[in-house]
């Protein structure tokens, strides 16, 4: 039907949203649903363990780790702003700081787990608390790890000089994922360390 050529117009990208953020919102939606199920299971099983250590006996507030993770959201936000302004070197520094803060969080989690397993004898098999705690916190730590790998990839590319102002939108999309991981931690923190104890 060549008569359609009478209405020839190229797609006007400005009036449709960009694909990257839409896709990332969808991914965040799916991940939120997965975390929601683990959170529901955690809440449902509060107080239902038949034996073994209870949360209030063994859990301590991971304040330092939380501050690091929340700060990393700030640094990644700053990094994206810097990249949008074209300041690639400063972007790299801020991005590196984000990675370091995220890594500190992971190390702190691992240390907490080491203490729980070897000193408090709480494993995933011990009781309902152990199962739900390690699953929920572990699922979150897994997402932090995946995020860190992505951030490290960008960092490596920046060091090679492959990253410029034209990649700001993509960096912003990745930072959305990182912010999501942070929000999940806030929820996990409240549910596990505040309500659950």
């Amino acid at each position: 039907m060549s008569a359609l050529s009478a209405v020839v117009v190229e797609p006007d990208i400005r009036w449709n949203p960009a694909r990257g953020p839409v896709a990332m919102y969808c991914l965040i939606g799916a991940e939120t649903a997965i975390f929601a199920i683990f959170v529901v299971a955690y809440i449902f099983y509060i107080g239902k363990s038949l034996t073994g250590p209870q949360p209030r006996d063994v859990l301590q507030l991971p304040v330092f780790a939380t501050i690091c993770l929340l700060a990393s959201s700030l640094t990644i936000h700053v990094a994206v702003k810097l990249l949008r302004a074209g300041r690639v070197f400063s972007f790299g520094l801020s991005w590196l700081l984000t990675v370091v803060l995220g890594a500190i969080f992971l190390v702190a989690t691992l240390r907490e787990w080491h203490h729980l397993i070897y000193d408090d004898r709480l494993t995933i098999q011990t009781n309902l608390f152990g199962t739900t705690y390690y699953s929920l916190v572990g699922l979150h730590a897994f997402h932090v790890t995946v995020g860190l790998l992505a951030l490290l990839t960008v960092l490596a590319l920046t060091l090679r000089g492959n990253v410029g102002i034209q990649h700001a939108a993509r960096a912003a999309v990745l930072s959305m994922y990182w912010h999501f991981v942070d929000v999940v931690w806030v929820v996990v923190f409240v549910v596990v360390y505040v309500i659950g104890r």
Binding site: L4, R19, C26, L27, A33
Partner: protein, 558 residues
């Protein structure tokens, strides 16, 4: 974007056979049309596998105390039949049609993320192969191997290591986990494509209903498949890390698995049925020669179904002992969803009203769909009344109901869609005679099987039993149900034969054999890799109607 980015020396080009070239191009494709076709072919193969599993079960049940297969084999058959049909036939074929049609209908050149598209297909494909490997893993084919036998909804604690030793349950978990990632990937792709890549002039209110229904379906996939993924991860923790999520001995809850599964399981059936509605909404108007009646309310009803559909899940759990208030809530939400669904039936009816209906094969299947979906919805309302469900649930009445929806509703519109878009996809016209033969054989078989299947349910026959006692009044009905299977099988054979024959020897179809109105009919059949020579712009919901009727275009009325 060319698929080959490296120029090969002439000598090397000559040594690769054309067949290998063709296979390679299909395996590495990122073109939405080819991926769509791959999904559809894959799904049709699994339709045959699922059909064989159903036939084995029906032969075993043709008379009481039969010994065609052992209970172990039978239990594997019903598990694999359900899992195959839902995850490796119905979902992939719907993704296939969505992939093929959505970019064409919104005037785009491809999906938003072509490589993610390919990745998602191959994940789904691998999941199916993994599931079927269970037949030959372990003991080999003897006794149906290690295929899962826990039912397609895999209730706990039957799935714990205690009651499901060996790896049969693990095949179920892993195959669905893997294909679940593929499903979510496709859903993300669909949403990004529809939101971001519509052509100029096509606001959300001007895109075809198929796009709206596919968009809603993708949203449901994102919200619904994830709970299944989560529950399966929990089950893996239980089975392999000694966890206690569903370990009733340690205080765990079997009912919690049910909640998590059905939070997936019910929206899943809307994932399957919304594309069926999409096909009906595109085909019925064209063959009635009228615009769809009430486009805005059809959109609103779709969104309502999406939302309400997430709140009805525990109507699958009326017998597990929830409180009377919880039961009553789910009665209300289940009844409520009948309202937007009923509205859609009335709108399709109103589209036919005052039209000039041509009963070509796609329309025959759509009219049968209307009749059958009406009945399916009404039996659904019966079971939505919880006390009635206390008798009907887990009986053959339920089995009859959901097959009425899935076969009588969804499969019938799928047949309509295949016939309707086959000319576009292949460039050839199918044989109308064979199409009608397929229709009649299948309608007779369908009604023989699934009308009469309601009766054993009313007479007290539970589901998932490999045999039954004589003297319960179930014998004659089971016999009739099994006979219907052979008519349906015959219909399917005619269908496959029609597709093959028409592809190779059908007459050329041209770009617009149905005198239709949406953008896919404006390009060649089959479309070129780039879909449109020039990206079109539109002014109404039926751009080709506007071009064919310049004196009376749609945008005067919308």
């Amino acid at each position: 974007m060319p698929t080959e980015s490296v120029v090969k020396p002439a000598a090397e080009l000559g040594t690769r056979s054309p067949l290998v070239e063709r296979l390679h191009s299909w395996v590495t494709t990122v073109d939405h049309k080819r991926l769509g076709l791959l999904y559809i072919f894959y799904a049709l193969i699994f339709l045959l596998f699922g059909g064989i599993e159903a036939t084995i079960m029906r032969i075993q049940l043709i008379r009481p105390l039969n010994s065609f297969v052992s209970p172990q084999v039978f239990n594997r058959m019903f598990t694999m039949h359900g899992t195959t049909m839902i995850f490796f036939f119905a979902m992939p074929i719907m993704f296939g049609f969505a992939n093929y049609l959505v970019p064409l209908m919104i005037g785009a050149r491809d999906m938003a993320f072509p490589r993610l598209n390919a990745f998602s297909f191959w994940m789904t494909a691998f999941g199916g192969l993994l599931l079927y490997f269970s037949f030959v893993g372990g003991d080999g084919l003897y006794g149906a191997g290690s295929a899962p036998d826990v039912g397609w909804f895999a209730y706990a604690p039957l799935t714990s290591k205690t009651f499901s030793q060996g790896h049969s349950t693990d095949f179920w978990i892993l195959a669905l986990l893997v294909s679940g990632f593929g499903s979510v990937g496709t859903a993300i792709n669909i949403i990004a494509t529809i939101i971001c890549m519509r052509c100029k002039g096509m606001s959300l209110g001007k895109m075809p209903l198929l796009a709206w229904l596919t968009l809603t379906m993708a949203g449901l996939v994102i919200l619904a498949v994830s709970p299944l993924t989560a529950a399966q991860l929990m089950l893996l923790v239980d089975r392999y890390l000694g966890g206690h999520f569903f370990d009733t001995q340690a205080g765990g809850s079997a009912v919690m698995w049910m909640h998590f599964f059905w939070v997936f399981g019910h929206p899943e059936v809307y994932v399957l049925v919304l594309p069926a509605f999409a096909f009906a909404s595109e085909i019925i108007p064209v063959f009635s020669r009228k615009a769809i009646f009430g486009y805005p309310i059809m959109v609103a009803a779709t969104i309502c179904i999406g939302f309400i559909g997430m709140s009805v899940w525990a109507h699958h759990m009326f017998t597990v002992g929830m409180s009377s208030s919880a039961n009553s809530f789910f009665v209300l939400s289940t009844m409520a969803i009948a309202v937007p669904t009923g509205i859609k039936i009335f709108n399709w009816l109103a589209t036919m009203w005052g039209g000039q209906i041509e009963f070509r094969t796609p329309m025959l299947f759509c009219v049968a769909f209307l009749f059958q979906f009406l009945i399916a919805g009404l039996t659904g309302i019966m079971m939505g009344a919880a006390p009635f469900d206390w008798q009907l649930s887990a009986s053959y009445f339920v089995v009859a109901h959901f097959h009425y929806v899935i076969v009588g509703g969804i499969l019938f519109t799928l047949f309509a869609a295949v016939y309707y878009w086959f000319p576009k996809m292949s460039g050839k016209m199918y044989s109308e005679t064979l199409g009608k033969l397929h229709f009649w054989l299948f309608v007779i078989g369908f009604h023989l099987t699934f009308d009469f299947m309601h009766i054993p349910g009313i007479l007290g026959m539970p589901r998932r039993i490999y045999t039954y006692e004589p003297g319960r009044g179930w014998d004659i009905w089971n016999l009739i149900v099994t006979i219907g299977v052979f008519f349906q099988a015959a219909g399917l054979l005619v269908f496959i034969a029609n597709l093959f024959r028409s592809y190779f020897r059908g007459r050329v179809a041209g770009s617009d054999p149905w005198d239709a109105w949406t953008l896919e009919w404006s390009t060649t059949s089959p479309p070129p890799a780039y879909n449109f020579a020039v990206i079109p712009g539109v002014k109404s919901r039926r751009p080709l109607w506007d071009l064919k009727h310049p004196e009376d275009p749609d945008w005067h009325y919308e």
